[in-house]
Symmetry: C2
Subunit: 323 residues, 2 copies
């Protein structure tokens, strides 16, 4: 038996701007997806999601021959990863997979990437393959390309490596070697939205007002440069202020909502250093950075204003095999 | 007897940015302050505010000799204007002034300037002085310099001239010859705030993050250029979108509040073309532009979300003597 886990992520700065080759900062947090893998004695790959007690059995030959299009389900990205792995490593036996994740789905916390990363690691380890981080990112990204239309690659990378990453599409990733010990409170609204739709909305808006957006995008990059320095010196006041400025930019480009503003102002007024949308916006999640003794109050006011609360910490722990 | 009136103003674009020599657009609206002036037979200047039924009598000689510091009241800017007028024109008789204003006080709609403008016009007319617009602006600005710490001069100018003005501190004013026939709904929160404090807050924030603010300020100017074209072509969709972008910038620089966001999102969600803070922010007023048939709904949702509502139109009518 192999058990692997991988973390959720938050975007600290630069969501949406990153699509247009601007800078972003992503961080892994201590919510994790776990995948257990066991060989079985039948020619079946079985997938069990513990959270919703949903299970499918998939024919061994269908997977290794890439006949997975008919399996239209939650597990399809994992089937695709398994097919890609089967092209590199010889699969001879069926495997039972058990997926167990703490990460809320569809709110921008990288749930699908974390599952894909843990799944890739568990499978490669079970097959006794001496993998590196790069292998995990490559295989997990194959799954992400099914889950999202234009994946930036941020999610599987941060979920594999953990910690904090600075990213620009044309330049790739750079690890930021800092540790932030303060909590990050995540508030989730119950508005539904599609990331792809929000991205298109921003790109259309940008096409209509290119000159204005140019300056907002320039401002984003300076915010990220300043944030890198603030993270290095653990200057939480500055990180919070930069989050507040960044949130205004996200409001400018049209991805905030009243539900998000409610949670954001509640957190700020309760003493958080700063609060902003994280991810695509238009509903979804916001984050607030605060001191440890403020966790209770900031969490309470977010709940009082209609949000679900996840209290998390930035985590240096990326993908992990649990021996 | 002379009756003069002058309009309130809204800032359509550029509040706060204007302090740092950036572009702003102001518009006169159809809320007015009225001042009635009548000679009396005593050596007294009497001031009656009809709205709060507050009255003071001021000794004639005190005013013409500039001994007005002890009159610490709501009417002090008017005493100062009267003193300045007395230096230019011979005052021989007492005058009774009756002030009657529709304009809410202290929410950024230029109430004090409108009173000062109407007061200057009524007084000059009563003294049979053949004044021009410039005279009114000069005398009204004397009063404003008492009412506000660093007046930009926008308020008395727009209240005197009416219509829509484009302004940059280093360049002065330029009239925009357009007429917008759609309503502007004004929502007022019951948060108290000081304009001077909000201005200082922004300037301090700017001093800490000069590079970021530079780009936000550049974005403001492009918004204003685009808005001038949109106003000229009466493109309400574009005016609304630009208001929404501009509001995000005001959120970035820290002058929004949850109460304002509530009114702004309520208006947008009820079908307004756009909505933003107007004036100093941190509480105070927001504006929404909508079609005439939406006045009822937009007004209702602003009320439902805790705002006082003023339904107004942009007005080309500046200061006026009512014969």
């Amino acid at each position: 038996m192999v058990l692997a886990s991988a973390p959720a992520k938050i975007i600290l700065f630069g969501e949406h701007f990153v699509v247009s080759d601007r800078l972003a900062i992503a961080a892994a947090i201590d919510l994790r997806a776990k995948v257990e893998a066991n060989f079985n004695d039948s020619k079946i790959f079985s997938f069990l999601s513990k959270k919703n007690n949903f299970k499918i059995d998939v024919n061994f030959d269908d997977v290794v021959n890439g006949r997975i299009n008919n399996y239209n389900s939650f597990f399809k990205p994992l089937l695709f990863i398994l097919y890609e792995i089967s092209k590199c490593l010889k699969l001879e036996r069926g495997i039972d997979f058990i997926i167990d994740s703490d990460i809320p789905i569809g709110v921008g916390l990288g749930s699908s990437a974390a599952v894909s990363v843990a799944f890739s690691a568990a499978t490669l380890k079970l097959l006794n393959y001496n993998f590196g981080m790069k292998d995990i990112i490559i295989f997990a990204s194959k799954g992400e390309s099914l889950a999202h239309e234009r994946p930036s690659g941020i999610d599987p990378t941060i979920s594999t490596l953990g910690g904090i990453l600075v990213y620009r599409r044309s330049e790739g990733f750079r690890t930021l070697d800092v540790s932030i010990n303060n909590p990050v409170i995540i508030g989730v609204t119950n508005e539904s939205r599609s990331t792809a739709e929000m991205v298109m909305k921003v790109l259309n808006f940008k096409a209509k007002y290119p000159k204005i957006f140019d300056f907002l995008y320039e401002a984003n990059d300076i915010i990220v440069y300043e944030a890198i320095e603030a993270l290095k010196s653990n200057d939480l006041l500055k990180i919070g202020e930069l989050m507040n400025i960044a949130h205004g930019l996200l409001s400018s480009i049209g991805v905030s909502s009243l539900s998000l503003e409610r949670l954001i102002y509640a957190a700020r007024n309760a003493g958080a250093y700063g609060a902003k949308i994280t991810g695509a916006g238009g509903g979804g999640a916001m984050i607030a950075v605060c001191d440890s003794e403020k966790i209770g109050l900031v969490s309470k006011v977010i709940k009082d204003n209609g949000g679900s609360v996840i209290s998390s910490y930035i985590s240096n722990c990326g993908v992990k095999i649990h021996e």
